[in-house]
Each structure stands twice: as C-alpha cells, then as structure tokens.
Symmetry: C2
Subunit: 414 residues, 2 copies
Amino acid sequence: MAEQTVFLDGGLVTSPKGFVAGATFVGMKTPGREKMDLGILMSERPATTVGTFTTNKLKSGSVVLTEQHVSGGKVRAVVASSGIANACVGEQGYIDAKTMVELTAKRLGLQPSEVAICTTGIIGVELPIGLIRAGLPKVQLVQNEATLGHTARGGYLFSRAIMTTDRRPKSGAMRVHVNGTDVTIGGCVKGSGMIHPNMATMLAFLTTDANVEPGFLRSALKAVVDDTFNMVTVDGDSSTNDTVLLMANGAAGNRPVEAGTPAAEAFQAALYEMCTFLVKEIVRDAEGSEKIFGVRVEGAKSKQNARLMARAIAGSMLVKSAIHGNDPNWGRIVAAAGRSGADIEESKIDLLINDVVIMEAGRPIVFFKDAVISLMNQPELELTLRLRLGDGEAVAWGCELSEEYVHFNSAYTT
Amino acid sequence: MAEQTVFLDGGLVTSPKGFVAGATFVGMKTPGREKMDLGILMSERPATTVGTFTTNKLKSGSVVLTEQHVSGGKVRAVVASSGIANACVGEQGYIDAKTMVELTAKRLGLQPSEVAICTTGIIGVELPIGLIRAGLPKVQLVQNEATLGHTARGGYLFSRAIMTTDRRPKSGAMRVHVNGTDVTIGGCVKGSGMIHPNMATMLAFLTTDANVEPGFLRSALKAVVDDTFNMVTVDGDSSTNDTVLLMANGAAGNRPVEAGTPAAEAFQAALYEMCTFLVKEIVRDAEGSEKIFGVRVEGAKSKQNARLMARAIAGSMLVKSAIHGNDPNWGRIVAAAGRSGADIEESKIDLLINDVVIMEAGRPIVFFKDAVISLMNQPELELTLRLRLGDGEAVAWGCELSEEYVHFNSAYTT
C-alpha cells in the first residue's frame, strides 16, 4: 500500500467532513434490541454518489428507484429504514419508495432526485407511509462534532436505524493521505447471519470527504465490492434489497483523485481496507456465530477461479460446522475446493490452517491433532490453499455454523 | 405412466433375478451402528452396466478405475467398502483400487475388467489392502431366496456394507410389466446428511433383470439421475467418490427394451420411481433430520431453469431452517427463487405449501398462520412454485436444517 492508513477510534459514517445524519423510531419494527428504525444520512454539500446493487431478480422498489437516482448523478442524501423490506409487494413498492423519497427531500430541502432510499426487513409487507410521514420531522441531523455524547452522534444513530437481526451497530472510519491532504473514509453496515447462506439484506453506506473523479470512484467501488462484500455472499446470491452506496463530497479539499495515479492507488487500497473491516464486522455479528474465518486461495489459474473456490469453501456447511467444532477436517476443505468449478490439481495443493501446514503437495502431513485443535479455538482463523497453477488470488469470509444459528433461523417470522 | 409398478415388501438390490451379494467386516471402520464394511454385488450372468460419476475435480482412484471398466462394457460385479474413501492419497489411490479389483475378480472367478469398485469414508487415508485381502474370502454371496432370514440376505448385507454416517440401510425393489413380462428393478443407496450441502459420498447401486438395449439403458440412467439424485445435491456439487451404477442382466427373459418404444417409456418411468424412492430415503436419513420436503417448480421458462430454481430453494439454509421451525416464511422461498439465476416475474408467482396457496400472482395471501404451521408439522412437505413463464418443471428434495445436524457435523473426524 502506497500510503499509511489510520483507523479512527469510534469512527462513524459521519466522521468524514460535511456529513450529517440522524434517526428516529416510527414503529416499523418490533422494539427489541434496537429501537431506531428510520434514518437519514446527508452530505451538506453536493456529492458524487456511486453504488452497487443486488442481482436478485426480485428487486425491492427501493432498489429500483435508488439505482435510477444514483445513475442520475445528483444523489447527496439517503433515507434508510428497517423492519420492512418493501419487497414483494407489487407495484406499491415503487410507489411507496417514491413517496418516502419525496417526503425526505422536502424535509431536507432537496430535490427528490438528490435522495436515495434503502429499506430492509420483512418481505411482503407494505411500508407504513403514514408512520414515516409523521416520523420524518423528528429526525435531527447531527454531525459527529456535536457535544451530545456518543449515543447522540448522528452517524451512530443512523447505524442503529439500519439494524434488523444485527446484534450491534457496525461502523468504522479511517484516515489516509491522498495528494498531500488527509482525507477520511467512513462507513456503516447492516447484515448479519442471514447474509451468509443467502438472502437477508446487506446494506453498506460509505462516505468520504475526498475529492474523487466520478469515473474512478465508480470503478474503485466496483472492484473493492467484488473483493470484499461479494466475497461473503455465496454464489453471487443476494437479497431483494442489497445495496452499497459510496458518497464522496470533496470537503477535504484535496486535488481530485484521478484514475491511474498513486493517489488513486492509495485511495482504493484504503477503501479496500475499510470494506474488509466492515465485512469482517458483518461476519462476526452473524447470528449465533462466535467465530469467523478467512479463506485465502493463492496460485489459482485466474482471479475468477480464486474467487469461485474461496467462496465455495467459505460457504460450505461442512467446513463451517468443522470450524465450529475446532475440527481440522482438511478433507472437507479440499472436497469443497474440488467441486467449486475452479481448476485444481491434487498433487500441487498445499493447505494451511493459520500458519500450520496440514497438507503439502496433495498429501496430508502428520500433525499433532490436539495442537491444531487448540490453535483453531480462536475467534478468527485463516485457511490458506495454495494451488500452484497461476497468479489468481482471493479471500472469502465465513463464519462458523452453530446450533444457535439454526435455532435462531427456525423462528424468525413466527 | 404407461404401466403399473408395484413396490415389493422388503425389496433389495438382489430382488431382481440372477443377482447375488454379500458382505463382511474387515476393520476399515470403527464398529458403531454398523459393522459390515466390505461388500460384493454380482450378476451371475453377463450384464450391461452403465454409470454416472462425480463431477468433482478431485476424484478418488476408485472412481477413475470404475469409469474405465464401465466404459469397457464388461462389468458384472462391484466391490464396495466403507470407512475409507480412497481419495486424496496421491497415485496410491488408483494403485490400491486396481489391487482391490484384482483380488475381487480372483475371488469371483472373473476378469478384473468385469469388476467395478466404490469406496466411501474418510478422505486422505490409504486403503488397508492387507485387511481387504484377508477379508474377501469371507464374503459369502447369497441370493434373496436364501432361507436364512432377513439379516442373512445378500442384498441386505451389501446395503449395510456401504453405510458410513447413515442411520440405517436403504434399499427397495419394484416390479413393472415390460414387453409382456414382469421385470424387477432393485436398488440400495448410501448417503446421508453430508450429501446435502455438499460432499459426502452418495453411492447408488441399481439392478434389474430386464433385458435392455445398452444405448437406451445409458440414456435412461442419465435422464433419471439428472431428475433425481442430481436434485438433492446442490449446484452440481458432488464428492470425490459419487457413483451411480445400473446393472441389467436380462434374466427376466423379456424382449429387449429399445429406445422410443412404450416399453422404454414404462421402464424409464419405473426407474424414475425407484430412484425417487431412494432419493427420499437418503434425504430422510440425513443426519439430525426428521423432516423432508420436495420443491416443485412448475411453469419455468425451461427444464434447466426449473432445476436451477428448485435446487436453490431446497438448498437454502434459511428455507431449511424455516422448515425445521414450521415457519411458513414465504419471503425466504421467493428470495431464493429470485437469486437462483432462473427467470422469474414477481407478478406471476403462485406459491403453495402442500395444497394451501400462500401467495398468488406475486402477492401474499392472508392465511391463518396457526393452521399452516400445524400443516407444516409433518414428516414430509411439498412446496410448489408456479412461475407461468413456460413448460419447465422439476422437483428437488431437501431436508430440514436442525441443531442436531450442526452438532453432528462439528465432530465428525474428532
């Protein structure tokens, strides 16, 4: 990495300059762990906003509208809600998304085309527009600098407003030196257990006060999302509502970051670090999971091959169960690798659990099993598979499959 | 279906005429539920044997050798063992498979090219050829007609010799009228929980005394396997050892069954019924599972689309968890349908749980939840998704995801 990055203590999506946020409770979700259910995030000045969206063929009306507004190039605010996904409700989904955006724009003094919308929660239920209309005026937009204490910070409230089955809000921010200026990248995410096997919305809101050329911002986000958020969801599966938005408002005053420059490289590397941090937070917060693991595939024939294989292993129920039980079951790992569709040659495979070689050139190595079991008994593990077929490399993230996961997911709507 | 089929009480892989089988224990697996670990199945007369094999890129040497022998066209016997998969052991895997086949051929008075081999169990451990050599003479080949009682029947012993984590042996046989003659189809399978999410060997041995033209036998098996066994394994994943063999020895004396005739249709329909029965047995026996469900997709754009979607739904951890909890969570079902890659239009979808309509034309129907929950509290369920886009139809099979599954699979090798 060209430049040093520094993570900020208590970093939030509003840590970058010029962003404000707030949230309230209007009654869209059952008050449980978390009461906030409606939030707004806004750049105080015009911003460049880019995004990536679900590939699910059943899209929420919120996603359809947000894609339109983002491609219009004017978005500088987003309204987000939790409890109701606004998906599988027919035409009403798009109509309600438009209404919610119009109400938010009015509240903020913006044009509707400047506002995006993200909704998450139960599918098949219509948005309670009356409650939203009544609640919007109660959202107070606050910067981080507000002296009201941690829980009153705008970015913190916003990160709580997007939670559904999440056990805690997940935010972060970092500083990186770009074109001679310190710029900040912030972010918060929603997504928990259900992200993992398939659906269940993953939402990510990324902000930066860097001044970044729009074309590069778009390509950087796409590349980073492919390497991070898309490496936790298995087989390209995504929910009806998945959305990643990145807003850049240039408030740091740096010379514009342009493609092909060292500044671009530094910025993209920092964005990758930020998103990796958030992805690990998502996996760590998965329902019933106490343990996460990274699957690094090296020496694959291509990057695409490496991604395919890393995801197949990280998503394997048998591997996830073995991780839960601290079982160094390398047979399950290589069998998942073999069925991933990516090229593999048995006689060339090395497999490592953390830094311990378990298999070399396709043959298991005799290891002291109790030592490896105790090595695996940690909150974070790394499996590395070396294929010796090319330069392709990728990392995927998974969490253990625990009895609690099943228990939790057998009783979600009931 | 053109002809009536009749399931036979206590049907076995040796129910068709001219097949004998037997098994013994040589010490390849820890004596637990099941002691038999080495079995032989043989046709007393020359037979036509066809097969389908794993698509995993890391194949057991046993599979490689069996594919060669089956394509040679002379196979009439198979030796099967459980406890050790003979996979991921380098070149030794193929060498040991050859030795085991040679020893078996000698024991049976056949040529090695007439013998196939199937192995299942732990990966990465070499076959104990010494134990196998010592054990083979102990295998007594017996027909069903033997008067030694159920547990001494050859086909029954053979079905026990292929078990690993299976809770019980799984066999069946049926009679069907073909070209004016009663013919019998028998089968037994190995495969349990682990089949489901991915690896873990699935072995199926099918036998028939029908006289069937080899080319048609091959195409019938392929078509039926695609519609049955391949509809329980998710995304084409398969273990290092998956094998389905079908042996036809003509002992029933019927006029040959030839492609394109009513007899061919009747035979293939019966084979489909037999394999569906065995597939349901596999799913029913999955570790920790008490409940199975079929996912029927109707009106898909193509058969391929229907398969893709049915498998995506049956393999979804969230759907499987919901089935476990008797939760009529249709949102998870349609979200899995939406991400499957198959075409879908929200406004055209109907969804039924058993015969109760839960969703119509893309909108949820108000139903009495407690009634549906109690409806779901049965050992077997059917979900039907109607897409109204074409003629494609497919059924996939899944089992609930229970806490016991996770518990069991966290401690498999340890």
